[in-house]
Structure formats: structure tokens, C-alpha cells
Amino acid sequence: MERINDHPILGKKTQRDSVNFSFNGKPMAGYRGEPIAAALLAAGIRTLRKHEESGNSRGIYCAIGHCMECRLQVQGKGIVRSCLTPLEEGMQISEGLQLPNEITGRKRP
């Protein structure tokens, strides 16, 4: 999605450093310190994880840490809320995965 570079009421952001990171192995760029969820949205990525059981795509919902919908994996950090986790140079990020479901035994076609 489009970034707002000069907000008509709030003005510009103070100078931010560009950083490189990867999502599902694909190289991407964003700003240091912005939430991972914002960097991914700016890159046009809406699906942050597959539902653990159904495998359905899920994205951000509340964007302030309440709902846990935006959880994904960051190498070295484990599963994090992408809306509250600041982006760092070289981060290797991957979407949350559907899990094998031996416990419920439920299978989807």
C-alpha cells in the first residue's frame, strides 16, 4: 500500500533509515524501527499468517497489540506480534504456519 510521505495535518516523519529484511525468503526494504506489520503493509503484503488449524489467511486486525491476529515468526525471536515489533536490519521474517493437527485429528480437504 501507498506510504504517506508528507501528511497534510501531521507533516513529515523525522528522518528514518532504510533497512533490508526478508519475508518468506523474499528480500524487502522498510524503515528501521517501524512495526514489521507496517513495513509489510507498505510492501503490499496482507497475509501475515495461515490460521494454525484451518490454514486460512489472516492479517492485521487491531494493530496495537490487543488481538494477537498479526503474529508471525522472526528468526531469533520466535513468534511475535508484528504490530508491536520494530523492524531491524537483516531481519528474517516468515508468516505464521498452519500446524499439523494430530490432536484434534480434523482434516480439511
Binding site: E2, G59, H66
Partner: protein, 410 residues
């Protein structure tokens, strides 16, 4: 893990308008204050809020910057990116469990704010469907548009205020529609009920609807008299169609939002046959309103009251922002949903109340607290955005109940 020694006189959870305002008063009176917030930067929801007021823009971010600067000058420690998940009283000290270890203080102020009421709808788990607050944060705090064109589901003060912000930020909106009728939506799916609530606010002069957009108030007033003649295409609120006779039936898409199916409804919220149509959008913002974010008060053992006018379940508290739990205070939207200006006044009051209890004012304490109570009343009666018309009345009842419960017979 070993017990840490007392590291503050006051621990505040939440670096929004209430928490920062309380920190300024308490630190100004010599208390050592730590403010914790889960978000990446302090300021709370003020960071993304702005509205027009007498032809000028009220910008929450500027006010937040001033509060943060004053906190810095007065030695307040603000720690962001920390989540608080536990609160336990032990030997007269609160143990505050955070994602970065345990902290402790004799007094804790909960200024955690509010959370959004979910609006379940068919297709609402699709990526691209978000709470309206999420759209606000992405656009106004992180400077990323939530999408190319969106639709807002739910008609209330919060939704209308953020719709205006999004529009000003250059986000294209197809309209504001009613939620699908059913158990979850209740009366919020009824055109007349929405109109009643929006118009109910207008007995306050000048009305918030008027403040949200002058010429719209007149149109809404007309609609109130003859709501069945409300135009099918809606009326324009700024450049956004407010569609009071249209409901979202379904959100469509495979791996992301592609469209929303809309339909016209009658006064009872029932779908008019043959009126269904699809509107292409790539994001949907759900506006369900706010409720006090109060889990930590429950964890700390505070009793609750149910007050729908203030957003639902809230911790029982006095007019001085005390709770029945010793050393536990509350301020801001955790005590009921109101505007940022009221939250700031409540924060200053909590700061005065805590300073008084800590003996920081000497003999003048009662006067300082009484002045701060008066200021909250003054700010509330002149607040620019009123979330519910009955707030002053229900507040009075809560404080009377407190008196009857905790102060009867001295």
C-alpha cells in the same frame, strides 16, 4: 527470579493522555515515577488523533509531544515496548510482571485506555478487514495507507471521527454503512437507533455532529423527522457517503478483501429483497465503538461495575480515581470512554490524589485534590467529542455508590 527492590514511588501502566498527565503531577510533587507502555512510542492513541475545531486543527500528537517533553524534564522514566501481564501485592508493594522482568512500587496507576468492540461479520477474518483504530494507526501513526479504497462498517462517534481523519489523510472511502443485523450487532444495526444516538448527542450545544461536519447536522436533523425518507445513496459526510439505510451483508474475497455485498434495510434492519449489490474495496474498517481495557484491574482484585453508557465493565472507582484496592488507582478510558481532554484531566487528578496519599502536599493536599476534581467536571462539560449524552449523570451515580459503600459511617 529474585525480588527486585522498590524502584519507583509510582508505576503507571499506559503512556497515553491520562498516564503522562498523572506522571507530570506526581513527579512535580517529588515522586519517582515510571511509566510503562506496550506500544513502540509514548503518546497513546493521541498519536493518531486530529480533528477540526473552530476552523483550526486539534492535533493530538502535538499535545503528546508536550507531555512527553515535560515528563523528560521532570525525570519521569518512560519505558516503551514493555507488556504488563501481572499485578500482585506482596508485603505492601505491587509486583508488576512485565515482558522484561518484574518491577515494583507501592502505588500503581492503571491508565490502559480502551479497546475496540469487535464487529463480527461474514468474511471478517479475511486479510484487509481491520478495526477502524487499526486503519487510524496505520495511516496516522505509521504513515501507511490501510488500502486503496475502503468501506467502514458501523455508525458511531468513533467511526465518524476516524472516517474524517482517513479522508483528510488521502485514504479513499466508499462509504459508512450499518453492520449486518443479528445477535452481535443488536440495536447498532437499526437505522433509527443509530440516528437516535447520533442525534441524541445534539442536545449538547454546539453538537458533536455539528462539530464533525457543520452542514451534515442539518441533514441528519431532517432525517430524524422523516427517517424513512433518508436517501438510499446516503448523505455526504465531508466527501464520504453516510448510508443509514444500507447494511453490509458479507465481505468477499479468497485470500484478501475484494468486495463487500451491501443491501438496503428497512427500519427494523431487515433486508429489502432485490437490493443486494457488490462494492469493490480492498480494505474494510469495522467500527464497533470502545470499551474500557481493564483486565489488569481485575487481575489486581478490583471489583467492577457494568455501565453501558461508559463502554461496559469498568473498575469501581471514586471521584478521586482511587479503587477499593489499596495503592491501586485508575484514570482515563479505563474508567469509561471519554475524550482525550477528559483523560488528561483525570490523569492530573489521579496524580494529585496519589501525591496527597503519599503525603507530598503536606497540609494543602485536600485542596489540591478538590481543585483537580473540579477541573475534571469543567473539562467534561466543555469536551469537544462526547461519546454518550448521559455520561455526567452515570458518573454521579458511580461516585454516590462509592460513598455509600466505602464512606458510610466514616
Amino acid at each position: 527470579m529474585s525480588r527486585q527492590s522498590q524502584n519507583s514511588d509510582l508505576m503507571i501502566v499506559g503512556a497515553g493522555p491520562a498516564g503522562l498527565s498523572a506522571a507530570i503531577v506526581a513527579s512535580g510533587n517529588g515522586l519517582k515515577v515510571t511509566v510503562i507502555d506496550e506500544f513502540l512510542e509514548p503518546g497513546g492513541r493521541m498519536l493518531g488523533q486530529f480533528h477540526e475545531e473552530h476552523g483550526r486543527w486539534w492535533v493530538g500528537k502535538r499535545i503528546a509531544e508536550q507531555l512527553i517533553e515535560t515528563c523528560g524534564k521532570q525525570g519521569v522514566s518512560i519505558r516503551c515496548g514493555l507488556s504488563v501481564y501481572g499485578l500482585l501485592k506482596s508485603d505492601g508493594l505491587w509486583e508488576v510482571s512485565t515482558s522484561e522482568g518484574r518491577l515494583s512500587a507501592p502505588r500503581v496507576l492503571l491508565a490502559t485506555g480502551a479497546a475496540e468492540v469487535p464487529v463480527p461479520a461474514d468474511g471478517w477474518t479475511l486479510p484487509g478487514v481491520m478495526s477502524i483504530g487499526a486503519a487510524q494507526v496505520m495511516s496516522n501513526v505509521h504513515y501507511v495507507k490501510p488500502g486503496n479504497r475502503g468501506l467502514i462498517i458501523g455508525m458511531n462517534v468513533l467511526g465518524m471521527a476516524i472516517a474524517r481523519e482517513l479522508s483528510v489523510s488521502g485514504v479513499s472511502l466508499a462509504g459508512i454503512v450499518l453492520p449486518p443485523a443479528g445477535t452481535f450487532a443488536g440495536s447498532s444495526a437499526l437505522p433509527k437507533e443509530c440516528l437516535r444516538l447520533l442525534m441524541g448527542l445534539s442536545h449538547l450545544a454546539p453538537s458533536p455532529v455539528l462539530r464533525l461536519g457543520g452542514r451534515v447536522a442539518g441533514a441528519l436533523g431532517m432525517a430524524g423527522l422523516v427517517s424513512k425518507f433518508f436517501p438510499r445513496r446516503g448523505i455526504k459526510l465531508w466527501d464520504i457517503p453516510l448510508m443509514l439505510r444500507t447494511a453490509a451483508i458479507r465481505i468477499n474475497g479468497t485470500d484478501r478483501v475484494e468486495s463487500v455485498t451491501l443491501a438496503d434495510v428497512n427500519g427494523a434492519g431487515e433486508i429489502l429483497p432485490g437490493s443486494e449489490r457488490e462494492v469493490p474495496v480492498d480494505f474494510v474498517a469495522l467500527a464497533g465503538g470502545l470499551y474500557p481495557l481493564a483486565e489488569l484491574a481485575a487481575v489486581a482484585g478490583c471489583p467492577f461495575l457494568y455501565t453501558p453508557e461508559l463502554g461496559g465493565h469498568l473498575p469501581f472507582h471514586s471521584e478521586r480515581m482511587q479503587t477499593p484496592v489499596e495503592g491501586l488507582f485508575v484514570a482515563g478510558n479505563i474508567t469509561g470512554v471519554e475524550s482525550a481532554l477528559v483523560a488528561m484531566a483525570q490523569g492530573r487528578l489521579a496524580g494529585a490524589s496519589i501525591s496527597h496519599e503519599a503525603g507530598a502536599y503536606g497540609v494543602d493536599g485536600e485542596r489540591h485534590v478538590a481543585d483537580a476534581v473540579e477541573e475534571v467536571h469543567r473539562v467534561r462539560s466543555s469536551a469537544l467529542i462526547q461519546f454518550h449524552p448521559d455520561i455526567p449523570e452515570v458518573r454521579k451515580k458511580i461516585y454516590q455508590l462509592w460513598q455509600a459503600t466505602y464512606q458510610a459511617g466514616g
